[in-house]
Symmetry: C2
Subunit: 217 residues, 2 copies
């Protein structure tokens, strides 16, 4: 049995990915309420009826986009790091994100908009942040158990996890407003200081990481 | 000559403040494109024509809101701190922000949406962040000149300033998604660690700051 996708099946997958990317860019630019299905359909070159037929609703389309882009990122650049290594991965991720400004716009816009209890992406975003905090705390626990976290007492794990996540989101927010700033170096240098403080050993991150290319993101 | 505002003049000022607060909440909830003038007018209890007559356009209304809310905050809680003291002020500010979730929603939503070059708040937000970074760097220079910043070499001032701003924005973003988290303690404890590292002396921030009350924000 072969798993190669080809012919009309593969073309369908690519077309779907293209629709989701374009729609994600429109949502990221205008916000969820501000982007109309008509506008998205026009940009993609299909009808609004076709979008509804495929994704059920505007809300269904948004959730499909979020899942697709998250999967695409995880697949292209999985984080297999454990303990302190888990966190170092976020430095090269910034280079990856430089290729996907539309995805960052979408995530930041939705994270901000989803403060509204009725926002259709609220559950997805709340869950995303909860999982991310929990994952970071779990990795801090692993580093602690390995004796690699002398700089942080366990009662501060959640605060440090939240400070780490805030660094990523906050600097990306600044970068989207001032594209001329150095996203990679700003995050990387702050991360080095943070990880050095956590681990009690000098952590130096590479300035020249190899990252995968994502097409058309 | 008296400067007391009373009668119809004072009432007009209060009415204007009320309109701007309500409109700010609607923009914060639905995003700029998603909130219609009609919707805002309905919530405030006036006509869309009156909003246009007073603020010129939807864009004019948004800029008036941003200026009003920023002025209101500066007036209620001015930051007179110099050097390291400048930064400690942001811990009690979190308690102040707990009273103004609508303002935070608006700022975060606009900061995220304004990544779009055509967003009407783009110039305002870009300028806001530029000024904030410059102000933080200037205060780091003052602390450095006073010998109060042994932990940070001058070439890292901008990175540290951006990391500090990211901490505030990023944790507020998390708080709007998970209102049960402790915004004040998360920011305060991370700020203590940051300022202790910067200054080389143990900085302890009060857990019980006195902050002004803002009505109806």
């Amino acid at each position: 049995m072969t798993t190669t996708k080809r012919g009309p099946y593969r073309k369908g997958i690519e077309r779907r990915a293209e629709i989701l990317r374009t729609a994600g860019r429109v949502f990221g630019e205008y916000g969820y309420a501000g982007a109309s299905l008509r506008q998205i359909a026009d940009e993609v070159g299909v009808t609004a009826a076709l979008l509804i037929a495929h994704f059920g609703s505007k809300e269904g389309l948004l959730i499909a986009i979020l899942k697709h882009l998250a999967d695409e990122g995880d697949e292209a650049m999985p984080n297999d790091g454990v303990g302190i290594e888990f966190f170092t991965w976020y430095s090269p991720l910034m280079k990856f994100h430089l290729q996907r400004p539309g995805f960052i716009d979408l995530l930041l816009t939705l994270a901000a908009e989803a403060s509204s209890p009725t926002h259709p992406a609220r559950e997805f975003m709340v869950e995303r942040y909860r999982l991310f905090v929990a994952k970071c705390v779990a990795q801090l626990e692993i580093a602690h158990a390995a004796g690699d976290l002398p700089g942080v007492p366990p009662e501060r794990f959640e605060f440090e996890a939240r400070g780490f996540i805030a660094l990523l989101d906050g600097v990306e927010l600044q970068w989207r407003l001032e594209p001329e700033m150095d996203l990679f170096e700003t995050v990387t240098s702050n991360l080095e200081v943070m990880l050095t403080r956590w681990s009690g050993r000098e952590i130096v991150l590479t300035r020249d990481p190899v990252i995968p290319e994502v097409h058309g993101a």
